[in-house]
Every structure is written in C-alpha cells, then in structure tokens.
Amino acid sequence: MAASVSLAQIEKVYGTKRTLNNVSLDVAAGEFLTLVGPSGCGKSTLLRIIAGLTPHDSGQVHIGERDVTALPARDRNVSMVFQSYALYPHMTVAENIATPLRMQRLPAIARIPLIGRFWPGSRKRRAEIAQEVAAVAAQVEIENLLHSRPAQLSGGQRQRVAVARAMVKQPGVFLMDEPLSNLDARLRVHMRAEISALHQRTGATFIYVTHDQVEAMTLSTRVAVVMDGCIVQVGTPRELYDDPQDIRVARFIGSPEMNTLAITSDSPHRAWLKDASIQLPVQAADTVHMGFRPEHLKLADRSTHHGAHTLSIPALFERMEVLGHDALLFCRHAQAQETIVARAPVADVDQMRSRGNGWDKLTFEIDLAQTFWFNAQGSRLPPATSVCEILPLHKRVS
C-alpha cells in the first residue's frame, strides 16, 4: 500500500529566480519525512512538484516503481492536505469526503446532478462510496458532522475533514502542506498526536511540510532541512540536533538557536580566544565558526579553575527570560560583542546571585566536546584526530 518516493535532480526556476536547485531525495515506503525550512526556501514548491500540481523544469519524480514525472496529480496515488484545508464550501462534509471516490469510480455521466443517478450501476457504487465515507468519518470522529457545511465547522473540525478526504482514497503517499499552522497552539499539539497516530494506523508514506521545527522534530522519522532551494541535510531528528552538517541547519534546529562565534585563526590549530587556552579541535584556516548550544553552557564561578577540555567564555549580562524551570540568559561576548544565549536552571542562577557574584559580568563554560566547528562557508569541519596545541593567551577574537 505505502509507496516510496524518489526525487532525482529536481530543478525549478521562476522567472530569474532558481527556487529549487538540483534537489534529490529518497523517501522509503511507510516513512514520515518532514521538509522543514524557513519561509520561501522552496519546501512547498517541492511538495507541489511531488503532488503534480506544479510542473518542474528538469529531473524525475518516482512514486513506488513508477516514473510519474509526466503524470497529472490524479494518477499519482497521492493525497494532499492543504494549509487552508481547501474544502469545497458548497458541499457538505460527506460530499467533500466523497469527491475523490466519485471522481474515481463514477463515469462523467453518472456525476451529473439529478439525472446522473439514473445511470445504470451508479446506485450501487454510490452506496459503496457512502459506506466508505462513513467509515473514514468514524475514524477521524466526525460522523456527526457529515451533513454540515465547512463554514459551520471549527478549525480543528475542518482539519479532520481535510484529513478524511485525503484518507478516503487510501493513497500510497500523504502530502501535507503546513496542515496545523492555522490552528491555535493547544489544538496544534493535539492534532500533532492525531497525525502521528494516523501515520501509525495507515502505514502510508507521509511527506509533511512545515516551518515549525518542533513539528518536524516530534512527528518525523526523518527530517530534510531545505534552505535556499537545496536540501542541506537529511537525517533523524536526533542526527540533526547532535550532528548538524551545516551552520544553517545548526542554527535552525534547536530552540533557542545555537550560538555561533566567528574566530580568526592564522594557521591550522592556532586560533585565539581571550583568557582561554583552547585546544582547537579542528583543522582551521582563516575564519572558523564555533557553535555551541545554549543548553550546553554552564554558569561558572570566576574563582573556579576550568579543565583543559573546557573553554570559558566571558560575557556581559543583558537580560533574562524565565521559562519556568529554566531561564534564558541573553548576554554579549565580553570582547567579540556577539550575542550569546545560555539556558540554565533557575536554581543555578539563584545560587549564583546568592553567592554575590557580579551580575553584569558572567563566565560560561563549555565542554569542547559539545562545540561544533564550521568553516567560513558554513560547512561542518570534521574533528581533527591529530594533536591539538595549547595556545598562548592572547586576545584575537574577531
């Protein structure tokens, strides 16, 4: 039932703007893959190309074993849930859900209003369709809404109708274009769970577009990060968080976003950061970016001495946001002036205060193993296995 999807070298150009640049992607049958990226990155266009709604300029689309590049949407064995739900306002819920089946199973003559029902055999098929519609409606718990019009429904109910209309065809691939973005926060969390359950139950392939990284991380088996018309990295949510291959991915995944400091070095393994003897863990040339996640920063007493594998970062405190258990500390690097955000338990912050440490100047510690290094172009630098020098103290932060 579930079908695999394979994209090869997809290109799409709008006017002079290259929306998709040589995109290739393989989605296994039954997988839940999320396309995530900032608005305008081309993720929706990619989904519409898979659906067959937008023609692309070059490249192939395979669904299952078939090359569907030249096939229209109806022949692709896909269903789609739209951001606006795109329910037909003049039809009842039941008619909305029945539409894909009517189009599939009734010949054009039998679809004509009033006289169509006299077409031989159409009565039996209509009964079948009504039965299947009722069954699908029961699955998404909208049986009691079948005779209402979309305008009478709430956002969550419309969403269920849209899902039911997608389900009724029993497609190999579900395509979802930001289906939750029109719902309020509570309902979104609830519907997230329902979509996840739907994936489990149907076993179909899901391709899901969102700009919300939380949705991407919580729903998917794999996530593809789309940036500027390219797929920058594909991996499990854990991989994207633990092992980002690009500085844009590193910044996009995780909230608040990863801190990055630009560091100038004048030779391999020789870079400079004030007050700290760093073992630069990568082969560096010219500018490198050091990234570290706010949750990995530790508040340090200035008196304590840090080990060889930790790096201390002096920062000027600017403001604090308390989230409950944790607090976000917004600071500036003491020399580089770059913003640094740290996430620390409120208890630690209080402890710091009670010890009478100066509040405007803080020192953070970061384990070098928890830093990410990127070259000037933003690609991840592999950790160098060779020697790491201990550098003289000098102020050379850019």
Partner: protein, 313 residues
C-alpha cells in the same frame, strides 16, 4: 464629543437585529441629522416620484388638460382588460427569456475564456466590455445595417451560403429574437466583468484540491469548483440581467417602433406611447405601477429561490 460617539454607535447598531427581550431604542436626534442628506436624495429622486406616479394612476390626468378628477381604480381596470397590455407583457417576458440565459451563459463563457488567456487578457476584456460603454442608440443603427433584409452583411453571408435571406426586423416571428441578440451583445460584456471578479476571488487551493481529487479535466474543474463558487455572482448577474432586459426600450424605439404588426411592442415602449404620444398620463401611470410591481415580484422571487443555494459562508 461624547454625544457624537454615542450617536455614531447607535446609528451603527441600529441596523443590527435587536434581541427580542431588549426594547428597541429610538436613535438619538444626531443620528437623524447624519442620515439627512442621503434620506433627502432618496426621497426626492426615488420615493417622491414613485408616490406621485402612484397617485396619478388613480386620476384621469392628461398632460395639458385643465381639470383632473379621481377615478379610483378605473385606469387599472381598463389597462388590465386591454388585450394590448397582455400582449406587450408577453413580448417583454419573451424578450427577457431570450436575453437572460444568452447574456448570462455568454458572459460566463467569455469570463472563463478570457481568464484562461495568458497574453492579451486586458485587450480581450476591453473588447468585450466595449458594447457596455457604447451608446445603444448609435449602435442600434449599426445593427440595423448589419441585419438589414437586403443589404445587410449577415444576409449577404447567408445568401452566399445558399440560405434564403431572413428579414430580421421585418418578420414578426423573428423581430423579438433579433432584438434579443442585440440585448445579449450589449449585456454579455458587462456580465463578463462581473464573472471575472467572481472568478478571481476563487482560491487557487480549491483547484489544487480538485486536481488531487481527480477533477482536473476542464469540465470537471468547472462543475466541481468554478460554477458552484460563482453562485453568489450568478445570482446577482441573473437579477440585474433580468431587470435590464425587462426594461428594454431604446432598441425598440430606434429600430422597430413596436413593429412589424406590434410584434416587438414591449411594456416601456407602450408606456412611452401612452404617456407621451397619446398623452394619457393616468393610464401610463397605472401601467408604470404595474411594471414596477412586476419588477419587484421578479427580483424578490429570484432572490428568494436562489439565495439559499448560493451563499455558503
């Protein structure tokens, strides 16, 4: 300042249906002042003339005659018992029955076609809209030439194709149809513009959904999405088209003068003859009131029947 604000709020809420329990509150005097200019215009240009005509219809007033007397409903009785009235009413309805489907379907067809044109859409829109802006009296002369029995190009064409020429305006069985063609030609462009406005408002998402659902052939798209979503526009277009068709006058007055043998006599033309040729103002007024009643009933019926089916939101 405060009174103005309250007055404005009262004026704004006055139109909303008040719950049964709360007592209806008469708007402040200031609200009436705000409504005065519009009320004055409505009164002098719409309501007063109608009232005067209605009053005249109960008199034997004739233009220029010194004494006038109330005659009760005599005018109505004589109009309703005159076979002429029923004849012109029938002609008008027949004309409307030709023009409304022609101009609505024509306008819809033009709108869908013009919308699907990539380059030069504007040009087509302008071309089809031209008849609306043209003076019908002048254009009628052109039509008279085009459809002329002997020298008209249309008949020349028919002749060269081996058909017998048709007396478009000379044949009593043909004349209403010929006038209707001109009526359609004039209205279709206007309806097209209304339909285009309706088409533009249809969300593209619905067409996408229809494509995924399997309705991606042009006819399926049209019947699944386009036509149902044009419902509200359709209602408006049908009502305005029937009113315009019902009020047909200028082509009749210029081209046929009701002929041949009264085959193209319509209500407005008859009222014009009564009132301004035979100077029987009382009788003309009675016909006018009946005409207004017809129009009212017509538009009320259409709205009543179709409204429930076309407003989804």
């Amino acid at each position: 300042m405060n009174t103005i604000a309250t007055a404005a709020i009262t004026a704004a809420t006055a139109t909303e249906p008040t719950p049964a329990k709360t007592k209806y509150r008469w708007p402040d005097s200031l609200a009436w002042w705000f409504a005065l200019p519009a009320s004055f215009l409505m009164l002098t240009t719409l309501i007063l003339p109608v009232v005067i005509v209605a009053l005249l219809s109960f008199t034997n007033y004739e233009l220029g005659m010194p004494d006038t007397a109330f005659v009760g409903i005599d005018n109505y009785l004589s109009v309703l018992s005159d076979p002429k009235f029923w004849h012109v009413l029938r002609n008008t309805l027949l004309y409307t029955l030709f023009v409304v489907p022609g101009s609505v379907i024509g306008g819809l067809l033009l709108a869908v076609l013009v919308q699907s044109v990539g380059k030069g859409r504007r040009l087509y829109q302008c071309l089809f809209f031209l008849p609306v802006t043209a003076t019908l009296v002048a254009m009628a002369t052109v039509w008279k030439y085009l459809l002329h029995g002997q020298i008209g190009p249309v008949n020349q064409l028919l002749h060269s194709l081996g058909f017998t020429p048709i007396e478009f305006f000379g044949d009593p069985g043909m004349v209403l149809f010929s006038l209707a063609v001109i009526g359609v030609w004039q209205l279709a462009g206007f309806n097209m513009v209304l339909f285009i406005a309706g088409l533009v408002a249809i969300p593209q998402d619905l067409y996408d959904a229809a494509s995924v659902d399997g309705a991606d052939r042009p006819l399926d798209r049209f019947f699944t999405v386009t036509l149902p979503l044009l419902g509200p526009t359709m209602l408006f277009v049908i009502v305005t088209s029937s009113l315009t068709a019902f009020k047909v006058f200028d082509t009749v007055a210029v081209l046929t003068r009701g002929g041949p043998q009264g085959a193209s006599e319509v209500i407005l033309y008859q009222i014009y003859l009564e009132g301004f040729q035979y100077l029987r103002t009382g009788s003309a007024a009675a016909m006018t009131v009946l005409f207004l009643a017809c129009i009212l009933v017509l538009s009320w019926l259409q709205t009543r029947i179709t409204e429930r089916k076309v407003h989804y939101l």
